[in-house]
Structures are given as structure tokens and as C-alpha cells.
Symmetry: C2
Subunit: 155 residues, 2 copies
């Protein structure tokens, strides 16, 4: 009478420095991102310190049974547009590729939106590489409007 | 023997509180943005204070002959992706509609990129409503890759 084991719940917390190697691994585990993320190095440590020191940035990890299975960065941006709306920017959203399709990404985004509301943001925004069509479907399924073009320029 | 007067040079500075009414006017002077920006109110003052207090946000105005003719918001976002790159986010870029086509927008963006480099950003990014095709042409002409889809969700 055994059934599938109940999956462990996903919990969320701010990333610690000892999560950084795993976070870099998650961010790089992707055909599009691998070439530009690299292996854990000094520049990632410096970036972690900058995020950690900035009250408007939160690097959040998703934990299942003690293992980090996802990561995302939340940035709160005050602005004049839209009647002085604070925006929640969501960047670097990644779920362990072995665990996709289990609702972890959906749980992460729900948590991000709740955190955004808690901090007074009235708009969430994100961009996604034009090649990531699965991600686009996913964001549309969460109610996001695919209303903008995203531009990038190396400085 | 008179010729066209030489146009006054564009100068840039951080917005002051007494620029706010003009900034809101510029942001709202646009068919797409007017309905969602509104008239100057308390919420804009609160947003101005939040931007002013955050070292990673700069509200910048373009001044020609003592008149504010453009505005943009620069946000510096530390991140783990792309080898720990700091990103320069450019939002709410507006030029006085009577003065378009005179290179003011181009001067603003050049200034933004220089400021980004000064602060260690290695990537500039922005999004633009899919309806703003002139803006898309403009950003592509500056070298931006139109590589991403932009998503927004009210919270």
C-alpha cells in the first residue's frame, strides 16, 4: 500500500555565502547562460557582497529537504512612473534542471510576488531571452503580460 | 549674416525636488504613459524621496538653457550572472515632445552609459513597450540588442 512519497515542501530563505557555489552552478546550468556565467570566482564573491549589503536587493534560494534547488534575485526599484510605483524586478530565476515540472518555479514566483507586495511593490517585471520559449509560456501562465521588448548593451 | 543660433548644449544633473512637477509632466506626456502616471501628487513625492535616499538609484534630468527637457532613471543592480556583472537599468526615459529629433535622447543615453561605466556596470539594459516602435529603432541604432521579451504583472 505504499504510494509515491510526499514531496518535501519548498522553503525560501536569503542566500548565505556558503550557498554561493551552488547558486553559480544553478545560474550556469543552462545552454544560454553557461558561457557567460563561468565557474565560481572572486567576481561572484564581490557581487554576493554587494547584493548582501544592498537593502533593495535580495538573493533568494529555494530549499527542498536541505538542498538548494532554485535561485532568484529580487530587486526593489522605486520610481516616478505609474503614480510613484515601486517595482519588483525578478532576475536570474533558475530551478535545478533535474527537478523541473514539479511546481518549484511556480512556488518561487508566488513567493517573490508575496515578498514584493510585503515591500510595497505594485508591479513585478522581468525579462527573458527570446530563445527561452518555455519560460515565456510559464510567465504568461502566471498572468504576466508579454508587453515589452528587452534591450541589452555591453558597456 | 545671421545664421541659425547654435543650440545650447545639453547638461545633466541629478533631479532636485523642485524639478519633480516637470519630471512628472515629462513622464506623463505620452499617450502610453499618461493614463498611468497621473498629476503630481504625494505618491510622486514619496517615490522621489525613496530614489534620492538610495545610492543605487539616480533620477537624472537633461537641461538645455536652464530648462529641463528630458529625464531618465538609472538603477545599478549588482548580480551573480555574467561573472558577477553590475547592470545599469535605464527606465522612464523621456524627452520633451517638442524637442525630439535634435539628438537630446542620444546625448542622454551616451551620458547614461558613461555614468554606468564610471560606476562599474558592464551591461546596460532597458525595456520598451511593444507599441513604441520608434523607441526600438532608436535603441537598436545605439547598438542595443533587442534580445529579450519583457513581462509585467500588477501585484
Amino acid at each position: 500500500m505504499t504510494t509515491d512519497p510526499t514531496p518535501s515542501p519548498v522553503t525560501f530563505r536569503t542566500a548565505r555565502r556558503d550557498d554561493l557555489a551552488r547558486v553559480v552552478e544553478l545560474i550556469a546550468d543552462d545552454a544560454i547562460a553557461a558561457r557567460r556565467t563561468g565557474e565560481l570566482g572572486d567576481e561572484h564573491h564581490a557581487a554576493f557582497a554587494a547584493i548582501d549589503a544592498d537593502p533593495n536587493n535580495e538573493l533568494v534560494v529555494a530549499d527542498v529537504g536541505g538542498e538548494v534547488v532554485g535561485v532568484m534575485q529580487l530587486t526593489f526599484v522605486p520610481g516616478i512612473s505609474r503614480r510613484g510605483a515601486t517595482r519588483l524586478l525578478v532576475e536570474a530565476v533558475r530551478v535545478d534542471s533535474r527537478l523541473r515540472g514539479q511546481g518549484i518555479g511556480r512556488a518561487m514566483m508566488a513567493w517573490a510576488h508575496e515578498r514584493g507586495r510585503e515591500r510595497g511593490a505594485s508591479l513585478a517585471q522581468l525579462t527573458s531571452d527570446k530563445a527561452r520559449e518555455d519560460a515565456h509560456r510559464f510567465y504568461r501562465s502566471l498572468g504576466y503580460a508579454q508587453s515589452h521588448e528587452g534591450f541589452k548593451l555591453p558597456l
